[in-house]
């Protein structure tokens, strides 16, 4: 009796909130046993962005294949699992519904508990798959749909101290890319272009009112559009690299400065960058340099854990499972779900 045996927690996680159909198996909230992502990006490219109805159609085509692949790669059967976790929101409602209904049917058929996970909690917990999270921590979540600063004083405690008031950072990247005539998805291309030259067009930094941790990128986006428009009117050629660099400099400077100020004010032990835009080289370099100087450890997950995936949903679901948080078979997709603490 003296020996305490830690039992493995094995969770099947499903994510379908936007244009990736994903399933993963996570052991003890920290180990990726399998991580399968079926991307629809090739299909959405022709439309210049994600079309919700098309995304939903692809999710239905892929969902059982992806879950089966996650189990097969893990060499596991449903009886090896402790729970099924799924993204409950936020996201595209029609897309969310596919993952949720598949998760409910799977949980019911195999007599497993179901856990509904917040997509942003997932992005933050992607870090638990790299190294243990140390609290208090600050997470900068930046993606196509989100720009948030989240303070966590312990597991399951989320305080959104800043968020975008209009466009998400990734959204602004995609729109500016369109102005520059770059194909979808534009974010990574702007990042690449921004590193190809030294010249930068000067665009405004939007700080909002003193002390605010909120963000706003629509003004910056308009400034880029106006610049292009004025140049066109004058019959002058724009330099795509200078525009890309100018735009990226503005976004990165604001994101970095606000994150640094929040990290100081909240005296955090760790700073985490998460979400698709966290893969941005410009942002990563800037954050790395200021936090190295500040002496606060900064963690950015590898690219495949920054973009949407199910492994992160399994990572977030594990502490929820231990805290006895459960969903039920009437779980619905919640496109505007707020990030709330579990504790």
């Amino acid at each position: 009796m003296g020996e305490f045996m830690m039992e493995d927690r094995i969770i099947l996680a499903i994510e379908s909130s936007c244009d990736e159909t994903a399933a993963a198996i996570i052991r003890n909230g920290s180990e990726i046993v399998s991580n399968v992502v079926a991307s629809q990006i090739e299909s959405h490219k022709r439309f210049g962005g994600v079309v919700p109805e098309i995304a939903s159609r692809h999710h239905v085509e892929q969902i059982t294949v992806v879950i089966e692949e996650a189990l097969a790669q893990a060499n596991m059967k449903p009886t090896d699992l402790d729970a099924v976790a799924v993204t409950e929101g936020p996201g595209l409602v029609g897309a969310l519904l596919i993952g949720i209904n598949a998760a409910k049917a799977f949980a019911f058929a195999n007599d497993l508990p179901i856990i509904g996970v917040h997509h942003i909690a997932g992005h933050i917990y992607a870090n638990a798959l790299i190294q243990p999270m140390e609290f208090p921590l600050l997470a900068l979540v930046v993606s196509g749909g989100h720009t948030e600063l989240v303070y966590m004083k312990e597991h399951g405690s989320f305080e959104v101290i800043g968020e975008t008031r209009d466009d998400a950072a990734g959204e602004a990247y995609d729109k500016v890319a369109r102005v520059l005539g770059l194909p979808y998805p534009g974010g990574p291309r702007i990042d690449k272009l921004a590193h190809e030259g030294d010249e930068a067009v000067t665009f405004p930094r939007v700080w909002l009112e003193e002390g605010s941790y909120d963000f706003s990128f629509s003004g910056l986006k308009s400034a880029v559009i106006n610049y292009k428009h004025n140049m066109d009117q004058r019959g002058e050629e724009i330099s795509p690299t200078a525009v890309a660099k100018g735009f990226q400099d503005s976004v990165v400077e604001v994101l970095t400065a606000k994150t640094l100020r929040a990290a100081r004010e909240y005296k955090v032990k760790q700073v985490i960058a998460a979400g698709g835009v966290a893969a941005n080289k410009g942002l990563r370099t800037s954050l790395e340099s200021v936090f190295a100087e500040e002496g606060i450890p900064l963690y950015v997950p590898p690219l495949k854990l920054c973009t949407d995936n199910a492994a992160m949903i399994g990572a977030a679901a594990t502490p929820m499972f231990e805290m006895n948080i459960r969903g039920n078979l009437s779980m619905n997709g919640r496109p505007g779900l707020e990030l709330k603490s579990w504790v």
């Binding site: 022709r46 439309f47 079309v51 109805e53 098309i54 939903s56 159609r57 239905v60 085509e61 969902i63 059982t64 294949v65 879950i67 089966e68 449903p78 029609g94 519904l97 596919i98 949720i100 209904n101 598949a102 409910k104 049917a105 799977f106 019911f108 058929a109 195999n110 078979l329 009437s330 779980m331 619905n332 997709g333």
Partner: protein, 235 residues
């Protein structure tokens, strides 16, 4: 042989368990509850009432569309996932034919209608009693449908809760040929979905992964994109 039938293609919901050609339990309702919230609990309830465990099912039948895109997808996702994880065959049945089956004892033409918004319908025409297809499932403006129905020059029995939306127009065009089924036969029944499913050969369990809804209509964005491509090719 135990079947689970799932019908969520439009606003009404129906779930049924059929054992050896007899209905054991069935839910048929038309209430303001999304299928996303309501369908899975209904499956749980019907199976519990029937005293049947999921693993005891032998096959699953689902109403595969056309209908509400989201409604169809919820039913298909539930059916696919259950069939795949339980390793049972999955049979898809036209939502329109499944509804028309409510009038299977009628000898003439049967026309089920789903409201597809903006004056459009998903519809088909079957002939009782074997539900022989006269007009295959398709998407049309109500005017287009009525033109085709006029040409049949015979009484037509209309089925479905959405018929009311168009009834005035239907009577205007078809006059005495327009027949209305009693209201008690307007809701689709998953037991009919199963009954129609039993008429086809069971597909292999491996086919489940490739099962997709029958939308009978391409997505709007795709239609616009195709149009653009055509215009470009023209230039």
């Amino acid at each position: 042989m135990i079947w689970l039938g799932i019908e969520t293609a439009n606003a009404p919901l129906s779930i049924a368990v059929i054992r050896d050609g007899k209905v054991v339990a069935e839910i048929v309702q038309n209430i303001k509850l999304t299928h996303s919230a309501g369908a899975m609990p209904a499956i749980e309830e019907v199976l519990a009432n029937a005293g049947i465990k999921p693993s005891e099912l032998d096959a699953i039948a689902v109403s595969e569309g056309p209908g509400s895109y989201t409604g169809v997808r919820i039913g298909v996702t539930l059916a696919k996932t259950l069939a795949w994880t339980l390793k049972k065959p999955l049979v898809g049945v036209s939502s329109l034919k499944s509804l028309a089956a409510n009038a299977a004892l009628y000898d003439g033409f049967i026309c089920p209608i789903f409201d597809a918004r903006r004056g459009n319908v998903y519809t088909a025409v079957y002939k009782g009693r074997e539900l022989e297809t006269i007009i295959d499932d398709y998407h049309d403006h109500i005017d287009g449908l009525l033109e085709r129905l006029q040409a049949l020059e015979a009484p037509i029995l209309f089925v479905g809760v959405d018929v009311d939306v168009f009834w005035h127009k239907i009577v205007e065009v078809l006059g005495d040929y327009a027949q209305r089924i009693p209201f008690s036969h307007d809701l689709p029944r998953a037991s009919e979905t199963v009954r129609l499913a039993t008429k086809v050969e069971l597909p292999s369990v491996d086919a489940v992964h490739h099962f997709v809804p029958q939308y009978k209509r391409i997505a709007e964005a795709e239609a616009n994109w195709l149009k653009e491509q055509k215009e470009k090719a023209h230039e």
